[in-house]
């Protein structure tokens, strides 16, 4: 599978998101510059964590205006895979590819720590996990408090779009313990935790690796 990692000014998990698909999973990957609309024929776009455009205005709000995002939106609408991690999740909700918003953590502070999440394995991004499996992933964000209206929440639940739910402790006040959701078709995933940070044993575990392995396995 060919991955494309978008580089916005202020992205800072771009190199981490490049490392896992290539060095750990042995796949092909290219960087996609924000001013460039060409997606270089990638199968899966990664919107990495960081502070795109300095998080000025609102996290992800300026990124959605960039030339590359127009192509990413088209790619998603035609069924192409897109994953937004942390700041990438914020870009996805701002762009309308995913419903809802990410507000400031209820603690009003940045939080970096390991948390537990429960996985819904009925998505293309989680098919390598067991049903209801509880895994450990790191979070690192200031605005991860997911919110949406009630109708949307019911739709997310009934469609099985909630891919990850915080388990035990809800670190940021997210509605219904939501840590990550997909779009209706399932080809777009946004999540606050960082699977790329826990995909190698030397970093303390591989609980995040199966997100990448799941999506790679969908390619025939």
């Amino acid at each position: 599978m060919k991955f494309g990692i978008v580089v916005f000014p202020g992205s800072n998990c771009d190199r981490d998101s490049f490392h896992v698909p290539t060095k750990v999973c042995g796949q092909e990957a290219v960087y996609l510059w924000h001013k460039d609309a060409d997606l270089k024929g990638v199968d899966c776009v990664i919107l990495p964590g960081g502070f795109s455009y300095g998080d000025y205005l609102r996290c992800g709000a300026i990124a959605k205006q960039s030339p590359v995002m127009k192509s990413v939106i088209e790619h998603a609408k035609s069924g192409g895979y897109v994953i937004g991690i942390c700041n990438g999740f914020q870009v996805l909700t701002e762009s309308g590819l995913l419903p809802g918003v990410l507000m400031r953590n209820t603690s009003l502070t940045f939080i970096c720590k390991y948390i537990q999440v429960k996985v819904n394995n009925k998505t293309p991004w989680t098919n390598k996990y067991d049903a209801g499996e509880v895994i450990t992933l790191p979070i690192a964000h200031n605005e991860g408090n997911y919110f949406c209206d009630e109708v949307t929440l019911r739709r997310l639940e009934s469609n099985g779009q909630i891919a990850f739910k915080y388990h035990g402790e809800n670190p940021n006040g997210a509605l219904a313990d939501i840590a990550g959701i997909t779009n209706e078709k399932g080809n777009v995933l946004g999540l606050m935790p960082h699977p790329e940070r826990i995909s190698e044993l030397i970093l303390g575990g591989t609980d995040g690796l199966r997100v990448f392995e799941s999506i790679i396995s969908t390619k025939k």
Binding site: P9, G10, N12, C13, R15, D16, H19, V20, K23, G49, G50, F51, Y53, G54, D55, Y56, T109, F110, I111, C112, K113, Y114, P138, A140, N142, H194, E196, R197, E200, I202, L203, G204
Partner: protein
């Protein structure tokens, strides 16, 4: 200051120059009066902060060379060789004064400055650490300063995407009027790709890069060279405002530009901005610079030469490229949406000539300005109170009746408590290299594409430095080395931030001299030269100076990443082994202060040979792959160290039961901070081998107990459930701010 402002004796005084210094200045100019811009430039270049005029004679005594040193002090950062063609560039720098005046921006720009120092040398930063010190937890200003400083460090480091992986947080009354913020950055650079701040090659263009110049931070360096009186809030405009987003672009653009061979030299604009960067670059190369201020990107109109030259606006760099290559470099910066303009040209006359609107507004000979900077041998006098505070009669210290209560009080005291409230606000995992997270003895960072890792630590016991600056400072070196060894790393080199009071007082200079001598001896003993650092004087408010605080940062290398260690006990049934000797020394301990309200005595005895044999033994055992955990004993002593082996910040806990049979009074046995001791654990089958290895290096070693259960039991003195102490330990810092 308008260019036509007349230079009067009063103006000279306001610029912090003494009469003698002003005479010296005129002489350096060939017996003429400076204009106002020139005076401003001299005042910052000759400020304590930039010129090291009071410290230079002492700093010269520090060991700065070694077989692995690639770059010693004098450049933007020090560099050591770690093999495989790779180097670590690192430095620690203070941002104390600005952080007291405006904690958030002061701390944030401290991080920004040290990051620039490292990437200007061509290194990609891999980790930040910091040493931060505040007044007493119940001082009215402490919560505000603590919250602001931590949020500022988080703001800058997190946005830059450089993990903040370790450090120290200390509370003491002596910092009530002067908190300390010392920021450390380490980066990795290939040996052949190092850049330096040289303005070489006559005719080469000088390029200004990064943020536009504004009116912020003017005279920051001068402010940092004075004591605090009343009305510090008025100095707020001297504190710079940081923009980590711009710096992130600057980092990526610089590293991209450095891949070409077009850049001759590059330096960041830190203290004294455009002035110090241009002077230092030309001075190192023995050249001059002709600069046109009309080309400098400005944030607002109407800025005078004085303001432009002295602005400390952040996120700016100065580069010299080969002639004809400027466009390709400028294009890279434009790609990253940064300003980049040719503002000058390298000349051969050794003169800094600055023009605005066609007129020369400053014409200064560079060598005299830099080399004729005053150097002072300040008077030195041992304080009258020094011997008195060292007196301690243990017979008069009553032993506690209930050690469980004493232990609980200590484990919940802010200096010994878990610092997770602080480091959870720092992104410590970005970059996916952090192998050992904050909370253990040293942070361990893997280097992708190799089998190696770098271990990093920052430490200093300033109470010991107050009681005995020589030995306190030697201890700071020893403890850093011990921290690295406990993680499995070989100590390599040191950076330091020397935070002291007013150097014009003989007692302060005595502390400073003693501290340099003690550090020097420590560095020689452990083969860890000092390759970078800075000095921060005038950390005093009114008559109260801070404790002498030589914060030390140390870098070590682990050749085989699979052989790294953390401090945490792992498995039930493992054997606990104590390396080193327990003693009756309680001088300067946290126990004495917290329980007996006493700051007295001598720091514990430091025997370099014993310490070195400990290091060899621990590294050999870790190298054999039989050590499951290793933790050095320091603040709070053996009892606190054992608790720290049992508890992790994520509620993970495993108990231990130990028995101690030393002939030592009970409070000293539990809480003495005597050095040269490390607690190891290993599986039972490896215990004999571990003891044999220790003994082969002449290091005393004894099995003291085993891992398991949900309690910490130490002989018949302490018996506490881990669940009962976890809350005390983990919530203590949070309580200060809420």
């Amino acid at each position: 200051m308008d260019q036509n402002t007349k230079v009067t004796p009063e103006i000279v005084k306001k610029h912090g120059l003494s009469e003698q210094e002003y005479e010296r200045l005129k002489k350096a100019l060939g017996d003429r009066e400076p204009n106002i811009t020139e005076l401003g430039i001299f005042s910052v270049m000759w400020s304590e902060h930039c010129s090291y005029k009071s410290s230079k004679v002492h700093l010269k005594k520090l060991p700065t060379t070694g077989p692995h040193v690639v770059q010693g002090p004098g450049e933007n950062a020090g560099i050591v060789d770690i093999g495989d063609g790779l180097c670590v560039a690192f430095k620690m720098e203070s941002h104390n004064h600005p952080s007291f005046i405006e904690p958030f921006q002061g701390a944030a720009t401290g991080v920004g400055g040290i990051l620039r120092d490292v990437f200007t040398m061509g290194a990609r930063p891999i980790a930040n650490l910091n040493s931060i010190r505040f007044g007493s937890p119940d001082n009215a200003k402490t919560p505000y300063l603590l919250k602001g400083v931590v949020a500022g460090i988080a703001h800058y480091g997190n946005c830059m995407g450089i993990p903040t992986v370790g450090g120290e947080v200390v509370f003491d009354e002596c910092y009530n009027g002067n908190n300390l913020v010392n920021a450390f950055t380490a980066g990795i650079v290939k040996k052949g790709d190092i850049f330096k701040g040289f303005a070489s090659g006559v005719g080469n263009p000088v390029i200004y890069i990064g943020s536009k110049t504004g009116r912020d931070g003017i005279h920051g360096a001068t402010m940092a060279s004075d004591v605090f009186g009343g009305g510090n809030e008025e100095r707020r405009p001297t504190v710079q405002v940081g923009d980590p987003f711009t710096e992130k672009l600057l980092l990526e653009a610089c590293l991209e530009a450095m891949k070409s061979d077009a850049i001759v030299g590059i330096q960041d604009m830190g203290a004294a901005g455009l002035t110090s960067s241009s002077f230092e670059m030309a001075s190192r190369a023995g050249t001059g610079i002709d600069m046109d201020l009309d080309k400098v990107p400005l944030r607002e109109t109407g800025m005078t030469p004085y303001e432009i030259m002295l602005s400390e606006s952040q996120e700016r760099m100065l580069a010299v490229t080969h002639v004809g290559r400027e466009k390709e470099i400028i294009d890279i910066f434009k790609k990253w949406d940064l300003d980049a303009e040719v503002v000058g040209i390298v000349t051969d006359d050794g003169i800094m000539r600055v023009r605005q609107k066609g007129k020369v507004v400053c014409e200064l000979p560079i060598a005299p300005l830099v080399h004729a900077a005053p150097v002072y041998e300040r008077p030195i006098k041992k304080p009258g109170w020094q011997d008195k505070v060292q007196k301690l009669d243990l017979k008069k210290i009553a032993e506690p009746k209930n050690y469980n209560d004493t232990f609980k009080k200590l484990i919940g005291s802010p200096n010994l408590a878990c610092k997770s409230w602080v480091y959870r606000q720092y992104d410590h995992m970005v970059g996916t290299d952090t192998v050992v997270l904050p909370g253990s003895d040293a942070a361990v960072m893997r280097i992708k594409g190799t089998n190696k890792a770098v271990a990093l630590t920052v430490d200093c016991n300033s109470r010991w430095c107050y009681l005995d600056p020589y030995w306190g400072s030697a201890h700071a070196i020893a403890e850093n080395a011990r921290n690295l060894v406990a993680s499995g790393a070989r100590p390599l080199a040191v950076t330091d931030c020397l935070n002291f009071g007013n150097p014009e007082r003989a007692e302060i200079m005595w502390q400073f001299e003693q501290s340099c001598l003690g550090m020097s001896e420590g560095c020689k003993q452990f083969g860890t030269p000092i390759v970078s650092g800075n000095v921060s004087f005038y950390n005093e408010t009114g008559k109260d100076a801070i404790y002498p605080t030589p914060a030390v940062g140390m870098v070590g290398v682990i050749d085989d990443i699979s052989k790294h260690t953390t401090q945490f006990f792992k498995d039930t049934g493992d054997v606990v082994i104590l390396l080193g000797v327990n003693t009756n020394e309680l001088g300067g301990s946290e126990y004495l202060k917290q329980i007996h309200n006493k700051i007295a005595g001598n720091p514990p005895h430091l025997d370099f040979e014993r310490e070195k044999s400990l290091h060899k033994a621990v590294l050999a055992a870790i190298g054999r792959g039989i050590v499951k955990s290793a933790h050095d004993i320091s603040d709070g002593g053996l009892a606190v160290a054992l608790a720290e082996c049992c508890m992790q910040d994520n509620c993970k806990m495993i108990g231990a039961e130990v028995k101690l049979e030393d002939d030592v009074r009970s409070d000293a046995l539990l809480f003495s901070e005597a050095p040269s001791r490390i607690i190891l654990s290993c599986s039972g089958k490896d215990a004999d081998l571990l003891l044999t290895i220790a003994k082969s290096f002449g290091c005393p070693a004894n099995i003291i107990g085993s891992v398991g259960g949900d309690k910490l039991k130490i002989g018949d003195l302490i018996d506490v459930g881990l669940k009962d102490i976890y809350g005390l330990w983990s919530e203590s810092i949070k309580k200060i701010v809420s």
